[in-house]
Structures are given as structure tokens and as C-alpha cells.
């Protein structure tokens, strides 16, 4: 299959030509003959709500801060009121990366880490 010929739509439309007929074969009947092009798409009411509540996009250092905020929220949810995690707690609560790198994160050798310990580990370039 080579590069298709380029078509001058303007002249075709001006001449009233039918550009192409829709292929519709028997095999399509009874099946989903036309899948709507809903990727990506959002319902109109949601689009209106989003337009009304738009928040600016962050970039660079601010985007990095957003990323760290996500990780902090996850850490805090796992650490609870205590605010710290042992390796075993990290593993049991789904934070496998912290459990894996625990020794490198726990530079004080305390056996418990704070989010600040983890943040410093990440800012040093992770493992």
C-alpha cells in the first residue's frame, strides 16, 4: 500500500461529487456496526462543570511538588497517626517500594522512617 493520492476536497465538493460510499456489509449487521468515537470524551454536563472549575496546570518545580504531595498523602495514609513506618508496616500496607529500599531510606538506622526521610531519599535520586 503506497501513500494514497491526495484529494482536492474543494473541487470534489464543488462538483457535487460523492467522495466515497460508506462500506456497509452484511457481516456488520447485528454486530456493533458503528462504535462511537468516544475516546477521549466526557459527558457534556461534566465538561461544563470542569470548564467552570478549571485549575491551572503546574510545571517544573511546582509539578514536582504536586508529585511529592501525592506520595506524602499515600505515606500519611499508611503511617496513620504515628506518622512513621517500619519496613514491615510499609510492606503490609502496600508501599512495596519503601519496603524494598528501606535501609537506604532509613539513614539514621532508627528502624522507623518519616516522610521527610523518604523525601530526602527521593531527592537524592532514589536508588
Amino acid at each position: 500500500m503506497g501513500v494514497p493520492l491526495r484529494i482536492d476536497l474543494r473541487s470534489l465538493a464543488a462538483a457535487g461529487a460523492i467522495v466515497f460510499a460508506l462500506p456497509f456489509n452484511a457481516f456488520a449487521q447485528g454486530a456493533a456496526a458503528d462504535v462511537p468515537m468516544l475516546d477521549p470524551w466526557v459527558p457534556p454536563a461534566l465538561k461544563a462543570k470542569a470548564a467552570a472549575s478549571r485549575v491551572g496546570a503546574t510545571q517544573g518545580a511546582a509539578l514536582r511538588a504536586d508529585a511529592e504531595a501525592k506520595l506524602k498523602a499515600r505515606f500519611d495514609a499508611a503511617a496513620g497517626e504515628v506518622g512513621t513506618l517500619t519496613r514491615g508496616e510499609a510492606a503490609a500496607r502496600g508501599l512495596g517500594a519503601i519496603a524494598r529500599d528501606f535501609e537506604a531510606i532509613d539513614r539514621r538506622g532508627a528502624g522507623r522512617i518519616t516522610f521527610e526521610d523518604y523525601r530526602q531519599f527521593l531527592r537524592a535520586g532514589a536508588p
Binding site: 476536497l9 465538493a13 456497509f24 462504535v35 468515537m37 477521549p40 461534566l46 470548564a51 478549571r54 517500594a97
Partner: protein, 470 residues
């Protein structure tokens, strides 16, 4: 029976697979492979409970060592789309020969051996989201439990982790390949996998919608700046721009059009919003650079893609996924179809059904669902926003794994997720040599264009190599 109903669930599903053996030839070398087709349960990271039964087709190269052999997980988007487009259109061992953007080939398109399969580089797992294909929630959960940005990402994480454990792939270099909504899904999933301790080698974002809020057609009322170069590519294809560059000159032309969009169109829209009408010079340039007549731009400067598709040539409707595909416009205003989707969808529906049962020997009385209505009940809210911005998720994945490779692939002729929008979204990450964007002639599914698929395969093979050496 599998169902895409939001309230549907499975009571006691089994993990049954069909295993078949095949061979495909790539660059003159015969690759024997095994296809594994069926279901695997995603187990909750917290409780270990089976929450969803995922339908997948895994292609694994025979004789390779699982611990070192890369594995790539593919999924489409929607949300609510089955992974049939990537599975039968892109880099699996078989592909539908659609010859896009040709419109005169007999349908259904034949399913042929794919000389551009990535199976020589990586094992390939094509997995359907909950509620489409044959994937479904497990009681007491329902499909709707997973109809949301966060819940969907979590259950995909649980599938990937389960797949790796069951198949002895914990040490395998892992890649994700998501298309369209599968792009933001990939960002969310990459962050979740990295946190859970699953290292990723790289992620491919095929025509992704990373930030719904940056796309004037789906998310917001802001300037359609990210669309302008796609209009230019489309106008050039139909020789309606001035100049109308040939395909070989398109990249240079579009470099100029990006600059035009950013430095002339965008400020003009903002000025117009503040009450200052666009200059005559700008309107002339809008017509020359897009092919859409000057009076249309004069009536409304900030034009979304539907108007462009309908009005580029009166009486003719261009595609949304691939603007090169056209039909006479018989749609009611506001209900415009997508000729490029209409052209290919029946063939994909027909062939996936035939292929799963005939070639892969997976049988079920259920209909393979190409598209669910998940989008109507989907919880799009994410990190405090009404519509998802997943750049923070991608950034979080990179913070956790600074070696993560990110490759975005876009089509010049796609006005669903324009290439310039992807570039602008990813530019928010700042300078990072591990983040790359490649653009190709073609639509949303660039891989359907034979020339572009060949180029993509070469680029991907090189990229996988660099990711594995990283």
C-alpha cells in the same frame, strides 16, 4: 455471561485459559510463540481479595528466559474501550490490514501475520479494562466499582502484579503501552506500580489525553492552541493550505505551525476574550495555515475540531481519529459521526470474535464488547479536579524511578488527541532526556498506516533497546 452493565458482576469466576502455539516471521527469522487467552483475577493489594476478572491475551516467545525477557502490557482507553484496536491493529503477531487511510479496500479486512510485531523485542499482554471485552467485576463488587480514574488504575495495578507473580515475571523488565485514555491510565498506573514496588523500564503513551483540562474539545474553554498544527497537517493533506507542503516537508511546516499557534493564535484568542478583535493579518494567516476559510475564523477565532471537520470542505465530513478519511456529510449538526471510526470498526468487531474462538480457541457464548457505556457513569475526578490531569502522576512515577523511560507517539492527522497538545502537556515535566515524543503521518491509531507502522516499529525497537540498557 459477561456484561458491560455497570451493575454486573461475576459470582464465582474461574481462571480458565486457552493455550495455543503459533509462529510469526520477523526480519526473516521465524519466532515460535505461545498465545495464552483467558482470565486472571486481580487481587486487592490490601486484602488479597479477588475483585475483578481480567480478560487478556498474552503472546510469549517460546524458549526465552522469563526473568530477563521484557513484558509489555497493552490497553486502549475510552474509558470503556476494549483493547481490540491495539491488539489487532498495532504490534501483536497478527494485524488487520486496513491500509489506512484507504477507503476502498474490501471489508472485513483480512487478519494477516504482522511483520512489525514487537514480539521479537518483548512479550506482549493485551488486557481489557473491567466492563469491556470479557473483563468483569467479581461480586460483591460491580463493574461500576472500577468505573473511575483511581479505582481503574488500582485494579489494573493489581492485575499487572498478579500476572507477574503467577507467570514468574517479577524480574522481567516491564513496560506499559496505553492509548488515548490509556495514556492517563498509564500515568496513574505507573505511579501506583512504582509505589507498590514494581519497577517499570518504560511507558509508551500512544495518542494520550494526559491532561483533560488542556484539550479545548473535551475539557475546557481555553484556546484551542494545541489543535492548530493538526488543522495545518490536515489542510496540507488536502492541498488546502498555502503553501501545501508534501508529506516529506510536513515536519518543517509543522514546526512553523507550532510557533504560529503559540505566538500568534494563542495571544489573539486571549486578546479577543479581553475584547480586542483579531487583526486582518492574523485572519489571513489562519486561512492560509489551516485551509479553513477566512470568514469562519472571523466569525469565531477559537474553533474546536468538530467545526473544522465539518467545514474544511462544504458537504464533506473529515474523521476525528484520522482527518484524512472523509465521507459526504449526512450527519445532523451536533451528531457528526467519525468516518475514520465508521470505516474500521465493523472489521475489528468481526475479526476479534472470529480470531478469539477460531485461532486462539477461546470460546464463550458472550459477545466481545468493543465499547461499554462506562463513560456515562465514570468518576473522572482525580486529585481534586473534576477532570483528570495526570502529569502529577507521571511526575510521581519519575520521582520514584528517575530512570523511567517515557515515549509518546502521536499522529499528525488526529484531532481527538492532537500531537501538539501532547507535546505541551509533557513539556511541563521540564527537560528530561528520558521523556521523548515522536510524531507520524496518520491518525489516532498511527499504526494503521502501513508506512508509519514500519517507522514506529523501528523507533520502538531502538527505544526498547535504550530502556533495557538504562
Amino acid at each position: 455471561m459477561y456484561s458491560s452493565d455497570p451493575n454486573a458482576s461475576l459470582a464465582n469466576p474461574l481462571e480458565i485459559t486457552s493455550v495455543t502455539r503459533h509462529q510469526v516471521t520477523v526480519d526473516g527469522a521465524a519466532l515460535p510463540y505461545t498465545a495464552t487467552t483467558g482470565h486472571m483475577h486481580a487481587l486487592s493489594l490490601g486484602t488479597g481479595a479477588a475483585r475483578a476478572s481480567f480478560f487478556y491475551v498474552a503472546y510469549t516467545l517460546d524458549g526465552a528466559a522469563p526473568a530477563t525477557r521484557p513484558v509489555t502490557f497493552f490497553y486502549n482507553g475510552g474509558p470503556g474501550s476494549a483493547t481490540v484496536w491495539l491488539h489487532l491493529g498495532s504490534f501483536g503477531p497478527k494485524r488487520l490490514a486496513s491500509g489506512m487511510p484507504a477507503q476502498t479496500l474490501p471489508t472485513p479486512y483480512p487478519l494477516v501475520d504482522n511483520a512489525e510485531t514487537l514480539l521479537d523485542v518483548s512479550d506482549l499482554v493485551f488486557v481489557d479494562a473491567v466492563g469491556v471485552g470479557y473483563s468483569q467485576a467479581i461480586a460483591p463488587h460491580t463493574n461500576r466499582t472500577f468505573y473511575g480514574v483511581d479505582a481503574d488504575g488500582e485494579v489494573f495495578r493489581d492485575f499487572v502484579m498478579r500476572y507477574a507473580i503467577v507467570n514468574n515475571r517479577s524480574s522481567s523488565p516491564k513496560f506499559l503501552y496505553g492509548e488515548s485514555y490509556g495514556g492517563p491510565r498509564t500515568a496513574v498506573l505507573a505511579d501506583l506500580l512504582e509505589s507498590a514496588g514494581v519497577r517499570l523500564a518504560g511507558v509508551v503513551l500512544q495518542s494520550p489525553a494526559m491532561d483533560y483540562n488542556s484539550n479545548c474539545d473535551i475539557g475546557s474553554a481555553q484556546p484551542c492552541t494545541g489543535f492548530i498544527p493538526s488543522y495545518s497537517a490536515t489542510g496540507a493533506w488536502f492541498s488546502l493550505t498555502t503553501p501545501a507542503p508534501a508529506t516529506a516537508e510536513l515536519p518543517t511546516f509543522l514546526t512553523q505551525m507550532r510557533t504560529f499557534a503559540t505566538t500568534e493564535f494563542d495571544p489573539a484568542v486571549r486578546a479577543l476574550n479581553a475584547g480586542a478583535p483579531p487583526s486582518a493579518v492574523l485572519l489571513d494567516r489562519m486561512a492560509a495555515n489551516t485551509g479553513l476559510r477566512r470568514t469562519a475564523w472571523e466569525a469565531q477565532l477559537n474553533r474546536g475540531p468538530t467545526y473544522y471537520r465539518v467545514n474544511l470542505a462544504p458537504g464533506t465530513l473529515s474523521g476525528r481519529y484520522d482527518t484524512r478519511v472523509t465521507l459526504p456529510n449526512n450527519s445532523l449538526p451536533g451528531q457528526e459521526i467519525d468516518p475514520s471510526s465508521t470505516l474500521i470498526s465493523p472489521s475489528f468487531q468481526f475479526r476479534i470474535t472470529e480470531y478469539l474462538s477460531g485461532t486462539l480457541r477461546y470460546t464463550t457464548p458472550s459477545t466481545y464488547m468493543l465499547l461499554s457505556n462506562a463513560i456515562n457513569t465514570w468518576n473522572f475526578s482525580h486529585d481534586g479536579r473534576t477532570l483528570p490531569d495526570t502529569l502529577p502522576d507521571l511526575a510521581a512515577a519519575i520521582v520514584q524511578n528517575p530512570r523511567l523511560k517515557v515515549l509518546a507517539l502521536n499522529g499528525y492527522h488526529d484531532v481527538a488527541t492532537p500531537f501538539f497538545t501532547t507535546e505541551r502537556d509533557l513539556a511541563r515535566l521540564g527537560t528530561n532526556p528520558n521523556v521523548q515524543v515522536r510524531n507520524y503521518v496518520g491518525g489516532h491509531m498511527t499504526y494503521l498506516d502501513d508506512n508509519s507502522r514500519r517507522q514506529m516499529k523501528a523507533d520502538l525497537a531502538q527505544w526498547y533497546g535504550s530502556a533495557l540498557a538504562n
